[in-house]
């Protein structure tokens, strides 16, 4: 019943990170697929506290803000999936560390004309062992590149999915997200079975 909350165990929040180089279409993807008008927030951070997870305002440190675009997809009654468009600037990577904790995984959006700009995002997810997929955004003149080309150029692990996508089209974005969840599920089964079998 709408509005009648509090008797069940409660809703569970989930999140996906949308990463990629500047102008690769992160905000467009979030906007296409979100059920709320995609939202924007500016979070204050202290530059000198990089990696320390400390937001206190200390006068001799430089305060700045990190911009985040985010959207939301309600899934059934109990799950709410958030999409976070990650800040593009490298110096804010400590922000990603907080964002990525507990995430389903990531989508690395690629503009194949500027593929080198995706290396950083790929490295980030690989080094933290977070499941991710690579989506080739449909910019003009990119049709001649295949997922195989991108897979090779980014030197991806064999199991990392690469697919074409149009960030402006909701169904295309949704397919990409579904592919990511499938991949995350495959990975979690592989990783978890041995652990629980040892008991």
């Amino acid at each position: 019943m709408p509005g009648d909350i509090g008797t069940d165990p409660g809703p569970v929040p989930l999140k996906i990170l949308i990463a990629g180089g500047f102008g690769a279409g992160k905000s467009t993807l979030v906007r296409s697929v979100s059920e709320i008008a995609s939202l924007h927030t500016e979070e204050p951070v202290t530059i000198a506290s990089v990696g320390v997870d400390d937001l206190r305002a200390v006068p001799d440190k430089t305060m700045t803000t990190v911009a985040l675009d985010f959207g939301r997809i309600g899934v059934g009654d109990s799950l709410v999936l958030y999409l976070f468009g990650t800040p593009g600037q490298d110096r804010f990577w400590f922000m990603w560390d907080e964002l990525v904790r507990g995430a389903v995984g990531g989508v690395v959006l690629v503009d194949v004309r500027r593929i080198a700009e995706s290396f950083a995002a790929v490295d980030f997810f690989e080094s933290r062992d977070v499941p991710f997929v690579v989506a080739m955004n449909a910019f003009p003149g990119t049709e001649r590149f295949t997922p195989g080309d991108v897979h090779h150029a980014l030197r991806l692990r064999a199991d990392v999915p690469v697919m074409p996508m149009d960030a402006r089209a909701r169904s295309s974005c949704l397919s990409t997200i579904i592919r990511l969840v499938e991949h995350a599920l495959d990975r979690s089964n592989v990783v978890r079975f041995p652990r629980s079998a040892r008991r």
């Binding site: 509090g6 989930l14 999140k15 320390v52 939301r72 907080e98 389903v104 969840v181 599920l185 979690s188």
Partner: protein, 128 residues
């Protein structure tokens, strides 16, 4: 001659313009980093909100939006304040018994969501 009290503004359509800095709102409080609620944590109102009166604007706004599950980061974007401030305001409402918090299960932080939750997510997304 008018000695009328200043009218109290209620039930506004738009969020009120903030007249005080956010550190006044939170009484200068911040919370130490590390074990903070993740920004996607959801809050919902409890039964007790029926008896809540005379709340400050920010608290009342949070109560209104939390009639359905809403995340800290959404509350922050709506109020125009950072998540760190929302954590403090939400903490006050939780202490007052007016809000429940639904944080992600702690196990997610190490290994991501469980296969059971991922399966449920996948089925829900495919059904859209």
């Amino acid at each position: 001659m008018s000695t009328g009290r200043r009218p109290r503004h209620r039930a506004r359509d738009r969020l009120p313009r903030r007249l005080v800095p956010v550190y006044v709102l939170t009484g200068g409080r911040t919370r130490p980093g590390g074990s903070e609620l993740p920004m996607e944590s959801l809050v919902t109102v409890t039964e007790r909100v029926r008896w809540a009166h005379d709340l400050e604007d920010e608290y009342r706004t949070i109560i209104e939006v939390a009639r359905k599950p809403v995340s800290l980061v959404e509350v922050g974007a709506g109020l125009g304040v950072p998540v760190a401030v929302v954590r403090v305001l939400v903490g006050d409402l939780v202490e007052a018994g007016l809000l429940d918090v639904h944080a992600p299960p702690p196990a997610f932080a190490d290994a991501g969501p469980s296969p059971a939750v991922l399966t449920q997510l996948l089925e829900g997304l495919r059904a859209r």
